[in-house]
């Protein structure tokens, strides 16, 4: 009896090893090139923020002009880092959960290079508009700054990257469908739909200039709510039970959390156009949806945190769990902040102030990226068959990320509320509001510096792993001094292919 079990276990280990091997190159490519884009994006964010309060900073370079750096910063953060980290998570999680190895890693890798080239070209267009010639001109549309053609290339590469995961799901041996798989499947279907819609309605069809702006704003909102969020939540729903060895707390809450996001998510985005001469219900629906994001945030938060409750040690010791749990706590925070900034009092001060930027960064860096870091700390040792080199690097990455993020969000929201109130107050000249914000702008610039430091640790660490310089050991790198107790199971059972239960 014991023999058959261990036989089944070893078959299982073999299968997981095969899956990991089949995905090694594309996943490592997505994670490491994403990390480099992230570092670049943070540098651009620092410059962009500095220019808000010190307008002459680096003003001798016209490609670093304030508006261009802002656009390049958000584009690299979203499409250079965010999307690629999400692709790596998506293809690995789907293969593992469907228990199918990937047979198209070559195509995925090529599509990944095309994606990178398209993003790089798009960023060149943003920064080189007016100086690099007619082939390098950005669209100049807020939220969709890449030129029209780039979006088509991005869409085709995304389909070539994700279609194999859809096939894996379809041909999997019948069985349980995991909560993570709902989110991944939905994200794979939503993103192309959103991209096709935005491309057609913004770049192809000839319509009102107001709707072009509105739909680009809807695009930016839904890409976060219906692609980045679901992928981050899929990873959390995978890691929380996996690391703690417990099933998800409640299937019904999971179901509710998923469908509430599916119902609320598609409405977000147009709240940025409140007061514009478009049908009034568009910004109203957008603002209402942003307020109601609190519903999925609370349900996912309760569900994941109840799953890991009582496993404080797992959160303390496992880098994956520490990042993921923080990401989920921040998702609840995102829901609360979104509620506060998008109701009809909050929207007046957040619409055109720093506060809206704070919310965007909390979503993209706080919720999504922290969950992505958690997934990366889990996945990379399994596919490279090496362990992370330094727990100190991981710890620095964690604390600096959290500290920098908190500083950005607090400065942006507090400064933004003062700025918004100053602008609304007619007894004060306009400059009062602008000056109030500038003081907090300093804080934001400084905080990007902390995030830059955090990501130098992360990027360096990841590139060392990519170069296969990780530790050859069967003990995972945990955040304690001694490997006496491990949340991944007792010593000896741990192997580089993953823990013994899937």
């Amino acid at each position: 009896m014991a023999e058959t079990t261990s036989n089944a276990d070893s078959l299982d280990v073999d299968l997981r090893a095969t899956i990991d091997r089949s995905l090694r190159h594309p996943v490592m490519f997505f994670f490491s090139s994403g990390a480099v884009w992230l570092a670049l994006s943070i540098i651009l964010g620092l410059i962009a923020s500095a220019k808000k309060h010190a307008p002459d900073f680096l003003s001798c370079f016209s490609f670093l002009d304030a508006g261009k750096v802002d656009a390049a910063h958000m584009s690299t953060l979203t499409y250079g880092w965010g999307a690629q980290a999400a692709f790596g998570m998506l293809i690995w999680l789907m293969a593992r959960l469907s228990r199918k190895e990937c047979t198209a890693s070559g195509i995925i890798l090529v599509a990944g290079h095309v994606w990178n080239a398209a993003v790089a070209y798009g960023v060149l267009c943003i920064m080189g508009s007016g100086s690099l010639g007619p082939w390098f001109e950005s669209s100049g549309i807020a939220g969709m700054e890449f030129p029209g053609g780039v979006w088509v290339v991005l869409l085709v590469s995304f389909i070539l990257i994700s279609i194999w995961s859809l096939i894996q799901f379809q041909v999997r041996d019948a069985g349980h469908v995991y909560v993570s798989q709902w989110y991944l499947l939905a994200a794979m279907l939503w993103l192309p739909w959103i991209m096709v819609t935005a491309w057609l309605f913004v770049f192809v069809f000839d319509g009102s200039p107001l709707m072009a702006t509105g739909i680009a704003s809807w695009f930016k909102g839904t890409v976060f709510a219906l692609f980045f969020l679901p992928v981050a939540l899929a990873s959390a729903y995978y890691l929380a039970p996996k690391v703690t060895g417990r099933p998800v707390y409640s299937y019904n809450i999971a179901l509710f959390g998923f469908w509430s996001l599916a119902v609320i998510g598609p409405w977000v985005g147009m709240q940025k156009l409140a007061g514009a001469p478009i049908p009034q219900f568009l910004p109203a629906a957008g603002a209402a949806a942003m307020v109601m994001i609190l519903i999925p945030a609370l349900s996912v938060g309760v569900n994941i945190l109840r799953t890991v409750q009582g496993h404080g040690k797992a959160i303390a010791l496992s880098p994956s769990m520490r990042f993921t749990a923080s990401g989920i706590v921040l998702f609840v925070g995102y829901g609360v902040l979104s509620f506060a900034l998008n109701n009809n009092i909050g929207l007046k001060v957040s619409q055109f102030s720093y506060a809206g930027y704070g919310l965007d960064i909390l979503g993209l860096y706080g919720v999504f990226s922290l969950c992505a870091f958690g997934a990366i700390y889990f996945i990379v040792p399994r596919i490279t068959r090496r362990e992370w080199l330094s727990r100190r690097f991981i710890r620095w990455h964690f604390y600096l990320s959290l500290y920098g993020l908190a500083s950005i969000v607090i400065c942006a929201v507090v400064g933004g509320v003062f700025q918004g109130q100053g602008t609304e107050d007619l007894t004060q000249p306009f400059l009062t509001g602008a000056r109030r914000a500038a003081a907090y702008g300093w804080g934001i610039t400084l905080a990007w510096g902390f995030l830059l430091l955090a990501n130098l640790f992360f990027c360096l660490h990841l590139l060392l792993m990519w170069a296969r310089l990780g530790r050859r050991s069967s003990h995972p790198t945990l955040l304690n001094k001694h490997h006496s107790e491990s949340p991944h199971g007792p010593e000896g059972e741990v192997d580089n292919y993953g823990s013994a239960t899937i």
Binding site: L189, V202, T213, G275
Partner: protein, 244 residues
């Protein structure tokens, strides 16, 4: 939950908002009925707004230079914000010379542009009425709005000054310089194009074609109704609050 019901659920939950916030509003907004005059000698005639300048080209450059990150072009109705009452943002106030022309933004304000630059933030002031505001402030001064704009783009903190509440405020602009839109050439080649700046001997600064298009666009931003009456449906000028 079967796969089929899952897909059906996704189609329904995404499809409905997709129709409601993208497809229907898009088709509605692309074919807006022109507003008609309801009174006076133009009664029954359709309102057709007029703009001059290199609007389409300049609007594109405005976007490419990323001006929308710090400047808005939107005068919100009072339920969404008090923009109408802020200085000359929404039009000129009632004086002996001109009627009260302040009003909210209407869809035709963006005519001729590919995309409406609503804007993401207000680090700088709203530009909806920039062209008319400059006409007003520079009245009686030896500076055209175009030249003021060139100087502002080239060197925002040393130009002829920023005016608010009828007071000239110097060097308080936090606008970054867009000196990349200008070039330095030998003064003898500048002709009449050189900007009125103190430059080294023999050197002149002239605007590039991009700067010309951008400035032409900025000067065209006149969202008040001086000269041309607005149809009643668009005339949303609310009464100003009494000063405290």
């Amino acid at each position: 939950m079967t796969f089929k019901s899952f897909i059906f659920g996704l189609l329904a939950s995404f499809g409905l908002p997709w129709l409601a916030v993208v497809v229907f509003p898009f088709s509605k907004m692309r074919a807006l009925e022109p507003a008609k005059f309801e009174e006076g000698d133009r009664k029954g005639l359709a309102y057709s707004p007029m703009r001059d300048g290199r609007v389409n080209e300049g609007s594109k450059i405005y976007g490419q230079e990323g001006c929308y990150h710090c400047h808005t072009q939107l005068i919100r109705p009072t339920y969404a914000g008090p923009d109408v009452h802020r200085d000359e943002w929404a039009g000129l106030r009632l004086t002996a010379d001109n009627p009260d022309t302040r009003r909210e933004t209407v869809p035709t304000d963006y005519d001729g542009e590919d995309v409406a630059h609503i804007g993401l933030g207000r680090v700088g002031p709203d530009l909806s009425n920039l062209g008319r505001r400059l006409d007003h402030y520079l009245k009686g001064r030896d500076l055209t709005p175009e030249t003021w704009l060139y100087l502002h783009l080239y060197s925002p903190r040393t130009n002829a000054g920023y005016v608010e509440n009828d007071q000239e405020i110097h060097s308080h602009s936090t606008c970054p310089s867009k000196s990349g839109l200008f070039k330095e050439i030998p003064a003898v080649q500048a002709g009449g194009q050189a900007l009125p700046l103190y430059t080294p001997e023999g050197v002149a600064v002239i605007p590039t074609d991009r700067a010309r298009a951008l400035v032409s666009y900025l000067a065209s931003l006149k969202k008040d109704t001086l000269g041309a009456p607005l149809p009643e449906a668009y005339n949303l000028n609310p009464t100003a609050p009494t000063k405290e």
